[in-house]
């Protein structure tokens, strides 16, 4: 019991620390937001306002995917330096991982809002669709899809941060194949929600997305202490 | 119609003209090649292991 409480307290401290550092080094947060909005604007210019539902979905998830990479891929970068040495001595690995995960969830939530908002602002709904059939499900799908990508990315960037030279490209190589299932589920969900498919057809996608996200988060928590002790 | 032509061409190709035996032969040669190379590798590794064992002692 005491152990659990201690872990949770560590998690809270780490999450708070992350958040404070994030605001203090505001340029990194701004960089991610800028990346997302600029990507959406490129998509807007490239599509020339004649975007079908399939292309709209593809662009949405490409932007979401790479914004997620820039936001989460550097999650363990700070641990390369002196901060890491301090954390390694003082913090318990599981609490650290939970804290990072919590921080990643917050970041992803904000990122989803920014990406989706920018998409609607610039591109609007895809051509031929006045308003989406299930707007709630669309938003939920974007959020859940982002979350289940994030938990995988947290694990991958934790692994990549242990490699001495060049973690950015390595995280991409390790992460992209792992993200394929989530992306497939998420794009199908988005397309279904846009074209108002019946609930029976769609309900499995959020369930799978949630399960994949929770599953990868669990494995990450179990395995993280082994990475950290190394 | 196209599909039917394709089907029958396979039938004619595979069994009608006795190509099944050619396929079997080629597959057997490939299998023999794999087996021989694995066997040679096995022999060489045994030799290396023997050398390294005598090294240690």
């Amino acid at each position: 019991m005491g152990q659990t409480l201690h872990t949770l307290r560590t998690a809270g401290t780490v999450a708070r620390l992350e958040w404070q550092l994030e605001w203090r080094q505001g340029h990194q947060l701004a960089a991610v937001g800028l990346f997302a909005i600029a990507s959406v604007y490129v998509a807007f210019q490239a599509s020339d306002q004649h975007t079908g539902a399939a292309a709209w979905t593809a662009m949405l998830w490409l932007v979401h995917l790479f914004s997620g990479f820039t936001a989460i891929g550097r999650l363990f970068d700070r641990e390369r330096s002196n901060v890491r040495r301090y954390l390694q001595w003082s913090a318990e690995p599981l609490g650290l991982m939970l804290g990072k995960l919590f921080h990643a969830v917050l970041t992803t939530t904000a990122l989803t809002a920014v990406v989706l908002g920018a998409f609607l602002l610039f591109l609007g709904w895809p051509q031929g669709i006045e308003s989406p059939g299930k707007p709630g499900l669309l938003v939920l799908g974007a959020w859940l899809g982002g979350l289940s990508m994030t938990t995988t990315l947290v694990f991958v960037s934790a692994v990549a941060s242990q490699v001495r030279n060049g973690s950015g490209a390595l995280a991409a190589v390790l992460g992209l194949p792992l993200l394929l299932p989530q992306l497939i589920l998420a794009t199908r969900l988005t397309r279904g929600a846009l074209s108002d498919e019946p609930w029976v057809m769609l309900v499995e996608y959020p369930v799978f997305l949630g399960a994949l996200g929770a599953g990868t988060a669990t494995i990450a928590c179990i395995l993280f202490p082994y990475i950290w002790r190394a | 119609m196209n599909a039917i032509l394709l089907l029958n061409s396979l039938e004619g190709f595979f069994f009608g003209s006795g190509k099944a035996h050619v396929v079997t032969g080629v597959a057997l040669i490939i299998l023999a090649g794999i087996a021989v190379s694995l066997w040679r590798m096995d022999r060489r590794l045994s030799q290396l292991e023997k050398e390294s064992r005598s090294d240690k002692s």
Partner: protein, 347 residues
Amino acid sequence: MKGRWNWFWKGGSVLLLTYVVVRGFCTPLQPGLVSATPSQLSVAPQVVDLVAVGQPFATSEDLPASFDVVLRSGDQLIRTDVVAITPHSVRIQIDVPPTMPSRALDAYLFTPASGTLFLGNACFVEDAAKGDVPPEFSASAPDPQEPDLGFSFPYQPNIMESIRNLLWHVPMWFAMFFIMGLGFVASLAQLRTDSIGWDMRAEAAVKTGLVFGLLGLATGSLWARWTWGAWWVSDPQLNGALVTVLLYSGYLVLRSAMGDDDRVGRLAAVYNVFAFVMLVILLMVLPRYTESLHPGKDGNPGFNSYDLDNSLRAVFYPAVIGWGALCYWMYTLRLRMNRCAHHLLSR
């Protein structure tokens, strides 16, 4: 003693695979109907050719009178006359009735030696009215015959001769699962003991497993081209297979990126455990709950829906054992190679 046992299973795997190749390629396929021409019929007397593949269902001496063809519309049967017969086709004369329960007709061919051949939706009658088949057109089903086809592979529509791929594609994936499972166990042991021996085992297992995964993808792609008409289709099972292979390639990338860092064993083990869990989720769990073209999503992958008959089984099981043993042999070679390299480097 140990040496003799080694040569027994290594040689045995090669012998088994030799048997699989010979039996797998030289066994004839049971006959099956593939098409009816013309498939569009109208209400009038006309001639239709039914074409079969596989081993011949008739000899040139057989008489047309000993064959029966019956068309089924809904739950009623329509009479036909067999006009001519060749080893791979039968020509029938049919008087299409003006009324029938369903416009789509299934064909049954009753043969003396090869049993009953079936072709679903063989013909379509555009101008028939809905109703019962008039009695002068209807037929009663002949008694089914016990076929005696000898050692032959079952006919499956669409799959046909390519059913032989079952002896390559499926055992290769089984071998991959087996060796990746071994690597998973080795990685768990590595995390527990932190010893270089387990790390070498895991690395050898992943490298060997990747070879079989790639072979499984290649044979599967070939099969997809034949049965589904495309080299690759978007399907849960196929996506899972591709992701798995990419995932394990990532393992090798991770190892080579680490170089000679002494933490490589532990980190690779962590990644390998993660990869195997994903493999199980992607290949064994997810495809069962989503729609898939790939057979066997409810049961062992690739198993049930092929209703393996005894002759196929007699080749399939040796194939599984043979490929598994060959895979294990390759794994041991890789492992010994790793050990020798380690020994040389640490000298």
